[in-house]
Point group: D2
Chain length 180, copies 4
């Protein structure tokens, strides 16, 4: 979960100090996106996983995720974070339906909900987003890999995900009817 985009965004600018203060007082609004490749019938063939440094200090496989800014529509936040993480020509296909497939509640206490963020309480709206174009991982991600639904559920891939992202991925595959 990166907040680097905020610095310098004039309207929504929050100093690091201010952000810390706010984070200790109210839940933060986030979006999570599961990038997928689909075939001509809409069926998911691959899931895109980033390799990146996580808030818990690990290097992990991760989904696209980020904060919704003050005054920002959820659709715009989703598009902004997808472009930030997958580059300008990824051509993400945002869903017509604004309802997330699940709501992930991240807490500093990992036992509360199964979703964990040591920095904050975040309420994250999670979406499955087909990618039509040519994604390239952003500089702050180390890699982007595409795996099949079956590979995504392998113990090896699950072991590389933290903070509950493996569970979020299972729920995304369940939502698309693709959970093996």
């Amino acid at each position: 979960m990166s907040d680097s985009i905020d610095v310098g965004t004039e309207v929504n600018w929050l100093s690091t100090d201010d952000l810390e203060t706010v984070r200790g007082r109210v839940p933060m609004v986030y979006v999570d996106a599961v990038p997928v490749r689909v075939d001509s019938t809409g069926e998911v063939t691959h899931i895109g996983l980033l390799l990146r440094a996580m808030p818990d200090g690990t290097i992990s496989r991760a989904l696209v995720t980020g904060r919704v800014l003050f005054g920002e529509r959820i659709r715009h936040a989703l598009l902004r974070h997808l472009e930030k993480d997958l580059g300008p020509i990824a051509l993400p296909r945002l869903p017509a339906n604004p309802t997330p497939f699940t709501v992930a509640e991240y807490f500093p206490d990992p036992s509360l909900s199964g979703y964990h963020d040591p920095r904050q309480h975040a309420v994250s709206l999670a979406y499955v987003v087909p990618i039509d174009g040519e994604p390239s991982p952003s500089p702050d991600a180390l890699d982007l890999t595409w795996v099949t639904p079956k590979e995504a559920m392998s113990p090896e891939v699950i072991a590389e995900m933290t903070g509950g992202h493996d569970r979020l991925l299972r729920l995304a595959l369940g939502h698309t009817g693709q959970l093996p």
Copy 2:
């Protein structure tokens, strides 16, 4: 709701007599599709409405609709009916999620559910489908018009829809958060 596609489809062929017999005994499985144009954030800007002869004898504004054949996947039926009604280069974007936005229950008795089909009891899975390409109405449709969500809810357009398709359209717009 057209069944013309069935005639001649070898594997799923049903004579008109057989189809009549079956229709009086069990509910038929159908799909309904609401074709839409979306902007880069996924928000619906226009809805596509066909003008066609309906089973109730009227010429009405209608959604894409049709029967699921024996042995056919729902995704394939949806794609087949979209191509039949909107042509081969409409490029429909089928949803990754197989769950319909609503289930329309059509009955010969119009008072039962608000959805009406004089020929049969049909259980129809309804989907919102973004159209990326260049649709052209099929020969058995008289016209294809694109209207805004606001126009779609105008008394004029609603008055031209029958069988409950106007209600299905309202539910589709509700699902996408676009109901005025």
Copy 3:
């Protein structure tokens, strides 16, 4: 999937021969229900699994399932099958939302969709249904057991389910955010 209810239902009566004929020509409409116990916050604590003879000849753990009759509303079919399988004082809480959490496509060919019914092509609308009362398994079921979400995902329980019901159960738990 039991059809015994049909025999004797005057309006919807189908002879065994007729049913066989119809089954070979069109997909049948079914409903599946995952009976659950929920706590005061709505969170699933237990899932109810029937032990019964299945169409494939096995004795398996199974969900509530059955056919929608000609002229019957889906809600009424769901209630009828729940009462048939769980008794008259189970007090099932049908969802206000008619949208299923998934659509299971059962085919005679087990490789097509992951859902298998040797008798027919069935399109089944699947719902999670909280049970408030005191369920008792119907005479044609051998047993009814309540398991936790974690137990439901154990290899032992999964091994006792056939026809894709284990996958349907995983999707139900994903839908409720309870997939471990």
Copy 4:
């Protein structure tokens, strides 16, 4: 949208000043609930509307709504606000599925999304909640009325709702398939 509950809640206490500061910097997480009465098949028969003083200074028909506190699960926030607004024996039936039927984005600028809150940017997860018990309006509400879906869509009732609550109600009725 009432925040009176926050005052005195030890763990989550925010002074009025702090709350004002935070509100100007990040979107707030809210929940909206549409209280309904359902029949034995789960179909919505009535919608509960509160009469209350709104943030925009009007006395209006309103849904149950409120803030999610730091460290609080969404289910608990939903239950807390339902009990606060409908009393301790309303017996709300929270959905097993954590996915809202829509996400309402309230902005100080009423033209941005159709949802308006002069005090803040709030992202609200909206749920339909069947009420089983005997609700009584809380002291800070003036009245609680139950209307049918048809009555809820009458121009009279719509004219008494502000901030986009009338639209939220239409979306809720669409979600339950009850939009007239």
